[in-house]
Point group: C2
Chain length 421, copies 2
């Protein structure tokens, strides 16, 4: 029997999923552990930057009003009364025609309002005392970095939802965030279904293949920012499957199964959703690959029934599960980032459904270009490995030609889109 | 005293560094742990894909020669003698006018050479026996995926040096790589110098600032694929510094210090290199920021003296240390990936040295565009956090205008360049 399912558009399917808002949670981790996590709060400046007036150069701090008379023909000579490395503060009040040796980054001595660069001075030793001579006058504030010049206490520096990169780590350190508020990783449960599946460490057997979906989806979950809970393989047996899924649902935010959602005689998931009383949002999407993707909601938790086909499984995850995970990571752009690019090869097989081509995005003369990553024989196997983007080809009768502008979705990107559909 | 140093070009500096080839090493980790690591060997197909003839559809397997007479006006009726889920193998020899119910992915039964899709058949029950009727003939091989069609035993699927993404994880699982040969992470030692530095968890003090370089560089090391060994802060005291550095060198592949390489009175590193007898490759590079970057080699280990200025430190690491790390990770493109983009804002301060502007790369109408990430006030502080690229502006007297094509180096990219200089 062929069950008849009504396909809905990708946009409709995405909207149905995104109607359910799962809230993110905050946890505090060490600065080091915060790398590759997502900020759960805006980060604000906890003090001015610089937080004191400081010298941006190696040189001598002095009072500008003492330097008015300096010129090439009338150099001035100041006594050096103190030496300040970065981190030191002055202890001697600077008097008229005195200077303080100051290193880059050191705090300006009280009373001084300008710095003359080291290169513009000549150092002298007179009777065991240090002097400098120089030939130009300085203006008030010359070569001084003033408190608050770069940032003010309370400025919002990075918005919540941001992916924490090395630059943000530096910023967090600057402002004393030894502990960082990050989003708790959503826990994503994962089952594989299909009696034909062997584990990666098992030898091949006639008629069987290795389970590549579970490891790949696990990696996709981690890339999206989630935590994987892998429950293993389900037998093609209804009661076992039902019990395992009911139990797992209590432990996760979102539960993914791969395989078993089609209309084959061993596809049990539709019946499991029914017995649970889950609200099936859709069970067919007008897209290739991945048309049998099913999403259901039960007690505010998502059940994802992804196709057993590796490409369909991969695409179904990225379009529908990733935005849920990223929303729980406080992102305001939880979807795959959408851009446009120029197609570099003809794609000549029209399809009534929207196609999501596995593609390699590359740059040529400041232009974005895409080419299918699975064209010739062995590329079919490696097309997911080589894909850094999905190219969206609208359904219909038209062919797509090299040079056409097409929409693409970026797979290895942290920026995202509000909604690409 | 101002020590006179002779600046060399970035290209010369990079070439001097890359002359020293540090060899990578292999270790085997579990499939799960291999994510975000780098392949230490080419990955080859350990079997054909598919490794048996299989059905790409739900349907019925049969012998094409039995179907020749089928037509709209003369449908044929075949008995269904067995049912094969994926993973099962046939046990009943198929005779004339018999068929086997076959699910997507199942192995073709012996004797069958074609599959008729489920949708094109009608199932009948006659005296408790199952039959199908259908109205068209099939060609030999129709709807069969043949062994080796997608990949052949021995095909090279992914080259060594590749960054392991979810697609590659799937591929490794398919071919039974439960353990994966990855590059051992180079161990990068790290010291901070400067008495002005506070740790992120310390309260501010007059004249002092928090150490942001060590956390940021640590994050850069991890992003590049290395492992960090942080040794803490060095006092501005020669013997302590010398001893600490000598000892650390025994434990790491590359040792980074931040600060202390300039010509300030407390910059001790040049004397440390001298006492060690290290070969100083350069101590001044014609670039902004980072001109005081120093690289020395001692007993086939690198000593990196990076500037204490956060931007200079960041850039010095990416230009000179990253390619060493990536080379040890078996990459043939160890440098930051170089592309061109259109400048979106005027940059009007010419500089005799090559500038590396912290920039935000973005896309607009299939075009690569860059804009400085540190223009207005508070952006100065956040410019590293917001940068995903460095824009290379050649030294000289010219201004750069919006619309100019410029070279850029990508910071958050795994592809790299052979040599961008």
């Amino acid at each position: 029997m062929v069950e008849s399912r009504k396909p809905i558009s990708i946009a409709q399917a995405v909207n149905k999923v995104m109607e359910y808002k799962l809230a993110g949670q905050v946890e505090w981790v060490s600065l080091e552990e915060s790398q590759h996590r997502f900020l759960a709060q805006d980060i604000t400046a906890t003090h001015d930057v610089p937080h004191f007036n400081r010298s941006p150069y190696d040189g001598f701090a002095l009072r500008s009003k003492d330097t008015i008379e300096a010129s090439v023909h009338g150099p001035l000579k100041f006594e050096v009364v103190e030496e300040l490395a970065a981190g030191m503060v002055s202890t001697v009040p600077v008097q008229q025609n005195q200077a303080v040796r100051i290193m880059t980054g050191a705090q300006m001595p009280a009373g001084c309002d300008a710095v003359i660069m080291l290169e513009l001075t000549k150092e002298l030793d007179i009777d065991g005392r240090k002097y400098i001579s120089f030939k130009r006058s300085l203006k008030e504030g010359e070569n001084v970095s003033f408190q608050g010049e770069d940032a003010r206490l309370g400025d919002i520096l990075v918005k919540k939802g941001a992916y924490i990169n090395p630059g943000i780590i530096g910023l967090l350190a600057t402002f004393g965030y030894a502990e960082v508020p990050v989003a708790v990783k959503p826990v994503i449960g994962l089952f594989a279904t299909g009696s034909e599946l062997l584990d990666a460490n098992e030898p091949l057997q006639p008629g069987k293949i290795r389970n590549s979906n579970s490891p790949a989806i696990s990696a996709q979950i981690r890339r999206a920012g989630g935590e994987v809970r892998y429950y293993g393989k389900l037998k093609d047996e209804f009661e076992t499957t039902y019990t395992a899924i009911s139990k797992a649902l209590e432990e996760v935010d979102l539960l993914i199964t791969t395989g078993g959602v089609s209309v084959g005689d061993f596809d049990l998931l539709p019946d499991v959703y029914q017995k649970l009383g889950a609200d099936v949002l859709f069970n067919k999407v007008a897209m290739r690959p991945g048309s049998v993707t099913t999403v259901a909601v039960y007690q505010n938790k998502f059940l994802f029934g992804l196709s057993g086909n590796p490409s369909a499984c991969y695409v179904g995850f990225e379009l529908f599960a990733r935005p849920i995970i990223r929303t729980m990571l406080f992102s305001e752009q939880p979807h795959l980032r959408k851009e446009t690019a120029q197609l570099a090869k003809d794609v000549l097989k029209p399809n009534p459904f929207t196609r999501l081509l596995r593609t390699q995005l590359y740059y040529e003369s400041s232009q974005l270009k895409v080419t299918p990553s699975g064209v010739d024989k062995s590329n079919i196997t490696t097309s997911l490995a080589g894909a850094n983007s999905l190219t969206v080809l609208p359904g219909g009768t038209r062919n797509f030609r090299s040079g056409d502008t097409v929409d693409i979705l970026l797979l290895e990107d942290q920026q995202g889109s509000k909604c690409p559909w």
